[in-house]
Amino acid sequence: MSLRADLAVIAAHVAPGARVLDVGCGEGELMEVLQREKGCDARGMEIDPEAVERCVARGLSVVQGDADRDLTDYPDDAFDCAILSQTLQTAGRPDELLDELLRIGRRAFVSFPNFAYWRMRFSLLAHGRMPVTRHLPVSWYETQNIHHVTVEDFRELLRAKGVTVEKSWFFTSEREIGGTSANWRAEHAVFQLSR
């Protein structure tokens, strides 16, 4: 099974044997790779009960919960690493969610679609409509992505919070690109963060 590009880069950079919480773990694809290939102690949180059911059926430890509310259940430093993939833009308060991730995990991986990707900008400029793309495929009124964010917006938030960026990766069409002009060129981004 091949992982989505952002998950693959996260999987490659999580320390072997780490205690990991995957927030918004879906059906547990990343957790399974982390357990099998890196000997991690992986736990998950997922809002969709059917996805949780599939995780449990795969033998994964996943709790049904809402990242906006239920991360408060975890004590400080509960994990070496907290992962939030493609979920930041769905949070009620992404800034508070980021605080929670770095409270329960010493380190965090965060991936999100970049709303400043040039095709988005072009689409908005040319058509005057909210872009519907491969990464953001749903119309504005039914999308779960309620907080669109750009690479620069995210960097600004990290600066304001004093969060350290350890590494960052950028992707377009599932292929890694360099960091130069990432805010234009990247379709989505992955950040490795620490307090």
Binding site: D41, P49, A57, S61, D73
Partner: protein
């Protein structure tokens, strides 16, 4: 009341007296149990299932009194989610019960029925007795312990008090403590039993007639708490029972009345009223945090098992918040825990009824 046939069930007398949370002890304890599926040579494939308040050891075998299939027949058996082709399933009647394990209807050391002289027992006492049963059966470590409702309380209690005895703990539609509302409903039931003149302070054994009416009312009240409002409306609505119009009297005009009366009578035909008092008391006393210094997380400090908690969105007896409370405590001690709230229309009883996602969760968790 339990008939004589229940006493023919598989049972053993524990080799040692049973110490109780009350400070008393039971010198002689018989535990009645059933097993399904073969025990592996290494004895590593055993699953202990704890029954709920009104259940018994006949989880997947015909009930000796009612002649009905076991209470979890749909879940336990060859090729079923708890697959007896793979697992050796043990299910024992709780101490304080009335299906062959020592309880208030059993004889005391003087050869008379214990009745209300039977010591008050707790959930942890029930667990102690079943751990002693496991010892007698030579089962050191369970593949899993599974229970719903009171069975879930027993499973959590086993996990907290005997953390080395199970690799997996599956607790369904349950709670780590009885709430004021839970206690209140049980008290209604107990008072219904005690208000029946045939109860005679519990000394009705051999009197020919026991407090069947009171027990039936207790069961009727309790049964309402096992169902959802939507489930009741769906099943009965305001439909009338075998009549075209209201009788302007107090017969069971409505289907729901007729149903509850039937449930009450059927229950009092098979259950001992004093056992109902003792078991509901044990549930009311249950507060796993209180047993462990007031902090639920401390109850699970030594836990090494994997946990899975399941709640149902229409269960208002032990609602999802109660399961999440347990999950929170398990997270605090970094225990591996899964939790899912399943959607089912039937309220608390959903765990006993048709619910395919529950089948998948149970099967998957036991892998």
């Amino acid at each position: 009341m339990a008939g004589a046939s229940a006493l023919d069930a598989k049972s053993l007398v524990l080799p040692d007296p049973l110490p109780l949370d009350s400070g008393q002890r039971l010198e002689t304890v018989r535990v009645a149990y059933e097993t399904y599926g073969a025990l592996a040579e290494d004895k590593g494939n055993a699953i202990l299932i704890f029954h709920a308040l009104s259940g018994d050891q006949h989880v997947a075998s015909v009930h000796p009194i009612t002649g009905k299939p076991g209470w979890w027949d749909r879940m336990v058996g060859p090729g079923k989610p708890i697959d007896t082709n793979r697992f050796h399933v043990v299910c024992a009647n709780v101490v304080g019960g009335c299906m062959g394990s020592t309880g208030p209807a059993s004889e005391d050391p003087d050869g008379r029925p214990w009745a209300m002289r039977f010591p008050v027992i707790t959930i942890r006492d029930m667990v102690r007795a079943q751990v002693a049963l496991l010892d007698a059966l030579g089962i050191a470590k369970l593949h899993a312990v599974v229970g719903g409702s009171m069975g879930g309380m027993l499973a959590l209690s086993l996990a907290a008090n005997f953390p080395d005895r199970a690799r997996r703990v599956l607790a369904i539609a349950t709670t780590a403590r009885h709430s004021a509302q839970n206690i209140a409903f049980h008290e209604v039931g107990r008072q219904a039993v005690m208000a029946d003149p045939n109860w005679r302070e519990g000394d009705y054994y051999g009197a020919g007639k026991g407090p069947e009416k009171g027990l039936a009312v207790a069961r009727m009240a309790a049964h309402i708490t096992y169902l959802s409002e939507a489930g009741l409306t769906d099943k009965f609505g305001r439909r009338l029972q075998d009549r075209a119009a209201k009788s302007f009297g107090f017969d069971a005009d409505f289907q729901v009345e007729s149903y509850l009366r039937h449930q009450g009578i059927a229950f009092s035909d098979r259950f001992d009223a004093n056992a109902y008092l003792y078991i509901t008391r044990a549930m009311d006393y249950f507060d796993l945090a209180e047993e462990h210094g007031g902090r639920l997380a401390d109850a699970f400090a030594g836990a090494t098992a994997r946990f899975c908690l399941v709640s149902f969105d229409t269960d208002w007896l032990y609602p999802t918040a109660e399961s999440k409370h347990v999950v929170h405590a398990l997270n605090a001690v970094a225990a591996p825990v899964s939790f899912v709230e399943l959607s089912a229309p039937y309220g608390h009883d959903s765990f006993l009824l048709e619910c395919p996602p529950l089948d998948r969760v149970i099967k998957g968790f036991l892998e």
